[in-house]
Amino acid sequence: MKLIRIFWRRLSTPSKAAAGALLGMGFVGGILFWGAFNTGMEATNTEAFCSSCHAPIVTEIRETIHYANRSGVRAICSDCHVPHEWSDKIVRKVQASKELVAWAIGTIDTVEKFEARRGHLAHREWKRMKQNNSQECRNCHDFDFMDFSVQGQRSVAQHSTALASGEKTCIDCHKGIAHRLPDMQGVEGWQ
């Protein structure tokens, strides 16, 4: 009984050196973990990473405005598909782990399979963007700073009405801005 009490005291009152060592290890470990974690997050944001599973998408994006344009400013996959807010980002990354399962099963590992599943994936993406009010688009395109005097008449007609009032959001009108579309029969505002 006494032995136990001594042992317990030892444990509950660690020497200053040990406490320091522990704290130090925790600190360094924390930095290493944080660094590795964020590096992982960054590495999985590159186009090369996405293209390892989404090759057809990467070839067709080349003709679109977000790949090549007069000013040379680009949007890459993660700009539109990975939220900027840290918490949202983690959530999306965890959701993306589901993609790993789909990848293992091979839901879109051939062009034909991808084309067949494309409508389903696109609808999921539209729903997500509709829910967050096209947050990814707005990270770059801020409505408050749109200069109607230099936009085309068609753009002004829509942006100053349906967009300004909040009745519609970017993705309602700009579907297919970066990709070829799936069969649009039955999608609101099409055909």
Partner: protein, 157 residues
């Protein structure tokens, strides 16, 4: 001795002739037809590469140019970059169809687009009219390539 002199003189006399022959030979080569073409747009030689023209800029939205003849498919008065036109999607109709034009404020497609080749009227756009860019192209500020005194008929002026 005499024969040698005559031979030298003869040779000397022949030289210019030979030289001349050579000249006409080279002149002939220059005249060889290298497959070029002469037309109203000027002379083009096959072995010469003409300087490419500058790209034509598609102006931002503006009112459509006037038609030059009756039944001319109207020109597209705006940018259509990356507008998808495939069996999956028709971006043009997402504004210009009868259904969508009310909201978009775009010009409706003509009723002729609902008729088949035999004149039968369908309930939706006829397949032969589906691919809009077969007849309609974006308008650009392009001057005629050759002098041209075509004038629209009176009713269109």
């Amino acid at each position: 001795m005499r024969t040698v002199t005559i031979a030298i003189l003869l040779a000397a006399g022949l030289l210019p002739v030979a030289a001349q022959a050579q000249e006409t030979g080279s002149a002939e080569i220059a005249n060889v037809n290298s497959g070029g073409q002469s037309s109203l747009r000027g002379l083009t030689e096959l072995d010469e590469t003409r300087q490419a023209d500058a790209f034509k800029q598609i102006p931002k939205d503006r009112s459509p140019f006037a038609s030059a003849y009756v039944y001319q498919p109207p020109l597209i008065p705006h940018q259509i970059r990356h507008y998808e036109l495939s069996t999956n999607a028709n971006k043009c109709l997402s504004c210009h169809s009868f259904k969508n034009s009310r909201e978009s404020g775009a010009t409706k497609i003509s009723v002729t687009h609902y008729a088949t080749r035999e004149g039968q009227v369908l309930s939706d756009v006829s397949p032969r009219r589906y691919f809009c860019l077969q007849c309609h192209v974006p308008q650009v500020d392009a001057r005629p390539l050759v002098v041209n005194d075509f004038k629209p008929v009176d009713s269109l002026q």
